[in-house]
């Protein structure tokens, strides 16, 4: 078993709390992605698992073994660093073989493992090169190779793609996913990029200010964020948030944002009954804003349509991002690419109300 359990893990740097009482279990063979903005404690959490940071309090288990006082080399982990941290004076072969040599593996086995890893990563022809003769993507592969030759229980990745250009990042994303299936190992992957998290993770752990805010499969956290931070962090462009009020009229509930008023779906009623007359934050994803002309699955009506004006138009080809204003509010819509509009033109936008969210403005937790 190579699961990783963190119990009440806290890490303080002097007075600053980097990791605040984190309790998570990463399952065997899982691809766990810790994601959050910079300074959220994700890297510190990873480094604590690696043994590079000592936990201020709490327990760390790897494969059911308490490892708080175990040296990094004896934790049976391998780590891929953001800047690769290759040894510049060793060639690629020796970069990968270094850990095995230190562990006194027989030469034959070292050879075989390095060869195998090099084949998996497609770097067989680079084994004699020094790191400075490699491109960024090749260095990345060597760093991964150095991790896989050791056949550790758990792989730790610290923002491994952030130094690559955008195109390469997309390609490496797919490769790391493939690698995960092939190695059947537990991977803990840290990133600030929610797209990496969404595309690779079995489960996403969203962190902010040292705490884990939500854990779930990518689509689960996308569809059912349990607080405003997660809702805003997952998804791109980010969810639109609009300060509104719940009003009850003739047994129906409406979301009133002053500049517009839409009707809450029936399914929301039981949960929003207590909020009648109170302030809420109305959340709607850009992809749930539709140009009235191209809306198909939902029926436009006065209850879900708002009048807006286009401010900025960003055609991306497959879709079009439109920055809209509606009275004092600004929202972003991700629209059908057929949408024809020019700046300052008005536009009728239909909201997919079933997919919207409401948040409590005080606790920032989701209401529905």
């Amino acid at each position: 078993m190579s699961n990783v359990i963190l119990k009440n893990l806290t890490k303080k740097f002097k007075e600053i709390i980097a990791v605040d009482n984190v309790n998570i279990e990463i399952k065997d063979k899982e691809f766990a992605v810790l994601v959050g903005p910079s300074g959220c404690g994700k890297t510190t959490t990873l480094r604590a698992i690696a043994g590079l940071e000592e936990a201020t309090s709490g327990e760390i288990y790897i494969g059911d073994k308490l490892v708080n006082d175990v040296q990094p080399k004896d934790r049976d982990i391998a780590m891929v660093f953001q800047n690769y941290a290759l040894y510049p004076h060793m060639d690629v072969y020796n970069n990968m073989a270094f850990g095995l040599k230190l562990r006194k593996f027989p030469k034959k086995e070292i050879d075989q493992r390095v060869q195998e890893a090099a084949e998996i990563l497609g770097i067989e022809n680079l084994l004699k090169r020094k790191p400075k003769q490699l491109s960024g993507g090749q260095r990345q592969r060597v760093a991964v190779g150095r991790a896989i030759v050791r056949k550790p229980k758990v792989f730790l990745f610290d923002e491994p793609l952030s130094n690559l250009d955008a195109k390469l990042r997309v390609a490496m994303r797919a490769e790391i996913s493939k690698l995960h299936r092939r190695l059947e190992a537990t991977i803990i992957y840290v990133t600030h990029d929610q797209i990496e998290a969404m595309t690779m993770a079995s489960r996403i752990f969203i962190m902010n200010e040292g705490r884990v805010l939500q854990i779930g499969a990518p689509l689960e956290v996308y569809r059912k964020p349990n607080n405003k931070f997660v809702a805003g962090f997952i998804g791109s462009p980010a969810m639109n948030f609009i300060d509104s009020k719940i009003v009850k009229e003739n047994g129906d509930y409406f979301i009133d944002a002053e500049s517009f008023k839409v009707k809450a779906p029936q399914a929301f009623y039981s949960k929003i009954a207590d909020y009648a007359g109170k302030e809420v934050i109305f959340g709607v994803r850009p992809e749930d804003l539709h140009d009235k002309q191209f809306v198909s699955k939902i029926t436009p009506s006065i209850f879900n349509t708002i009048n807006t004006k286009a401010e900025v138009i960003e055609p991306l080809g497959a879709e079009i991002f439109i920055y809209l204003t509606c009275g004092k509010h600004s929202v972003i819509g991700k629209m059908d690419s057929r949408t024809q509009i020019e700046v300052d033109q008005s536009m009728e936008v239909v909201l997919d109300m079933e997919k919207t969210h409401l948040f409590d403005p005080k606790t920032l937790l989701v209401i529905v």
């Binding site: 690696a50 043994g51 590079l52 040296q71 990094p72 080399k73 982990i77 391998a78 780590m79 660093f81 953001q82 800047n83 941290a85 290759l86 040894y87 510049p88 004076h89 270094f98 850990g99 230190l102 562990r103 150095r146 050791r150």
Partner: protein, 281 residues
């Protein structure tokens, strides 16, 4: 054209400074070539009448007739002093720098400051306790005693050089090797040491020069001519009755030769190392 004019000005200024700095060297070379009869303040600037290396061989071999030892006997003393002292102090500096940057502990910055403080203690102020200590250790008057003093006095500067260099070596590399399975010494041996060439170039060239050029420690710690370094022997060339300037100056040139050669041939490593330590990152 404006650019080339400023260039021209720069070159002129540089040339003036170069000449200014090279004048003493000129005087030394021409005086060294002169015979004793030719040496006088009036003819100081003149070229020698003939190329004559007698004063160099006199300075090197000495003269029993005229009652002075040459510097040749002390040349090897200096080599046996400088080489180990340079290597050992660079190694200590490297280990210190490694610990102070990659294994920081509570109070490590304070210790670094205190090590640096050692640079500002004037030699003269510690001479009496130094001699007493060396006598207790039974190394007073010997080359190993002199090596010990230079190693200790070299620790602050070489620690500073290596610390500043190792700051530019990514700490992730040390962390990667920790995970790869290396321990404190293993990381030094396999990762840090092989990357230290620029640091060693700077520290060793620096140490070589300053130990070679040291006069005070040699004078005080090795009163016995058999173990004196070359700088002390150079001073003793002065003889007892008359000062032969041409021989003195020839000896000074010979004594200064090794550091000059090192700078000429290894100067680029020195500069490169200095730049890597301070500007990169």
């Amino acid at each position: 054209m404006k650019i080339s004019l400023t260039r021209l000005l720069i070159y002129i200024i540089l040339a003036i400074f170069s000449i200014f700095y090279i004048i003493p060297m000129y005087i030394m070379v021409v005086t060294g070539m002169k015979s004793f009869a030719e040496v006088s303040l009036d003819t100081m600037w003149n070229l020698p009448n003939s190329f004559n290396f007698n004063s160099f061989s006199l300075a090197w071999l000495g003269s029993i007739k005229e009652g002075f030892r040459g510097i040749s006997g002390s040349f090897l003393n200096s080599v046996f002093l400088v080489v180990p002292a340079t290597v050992i102090s660079a190694l200590f500096g490297s280990l210190n720098g490694y610990v102070l940057t990659k294994w920081q502990f509570r109070g490590s910055d304070l210790i670094f400051t205190m090590i640096l403080f050692g640079m500002f203690i004037p030699y003269q102020s510690i001479i009496i306790p130094l001699v007493l200590t060396l006598q207790r250790l039974h190394v007073y008057g010997t080359i190993p005693g002199l090596i010990l003093v230079h190693v200790i006095y070299g620790i602050p500067i070489s620690t500073l050089i290596f610390r500043n260099y190792y700051v530019t070596v990514p700490t992730e590399m040390v962390e990667a090797s920790k995970i790869d399975g290396a321990n404190f010494l293993g990381i030094y041996r396999w990762v840090i040491f092989p990357l230290s060439t620029p640091g060693f170039a700077v520290a060793m060239i620096w140490q070589f020069t300053s130990i070679w050029n040291d006069f005070l420690f040699g004078l005080i710690i090795t009163p016995n001519p058999a173990s004196q370094p070359i700088t002390v022997a150079l001073n003793n060339l002065a003889g007892s009755y008359i000062v032969q300037w041409n021989v003195q100056i020839a000896g000074a040139l010979l004594t200064a030769l090794p550091p000059i050669l090192i700078y000429i041939f290894l100067g680029k490593f020195f500069l490169r190392g200095l730049l890597q330590g301070s500007l990169k990152g």
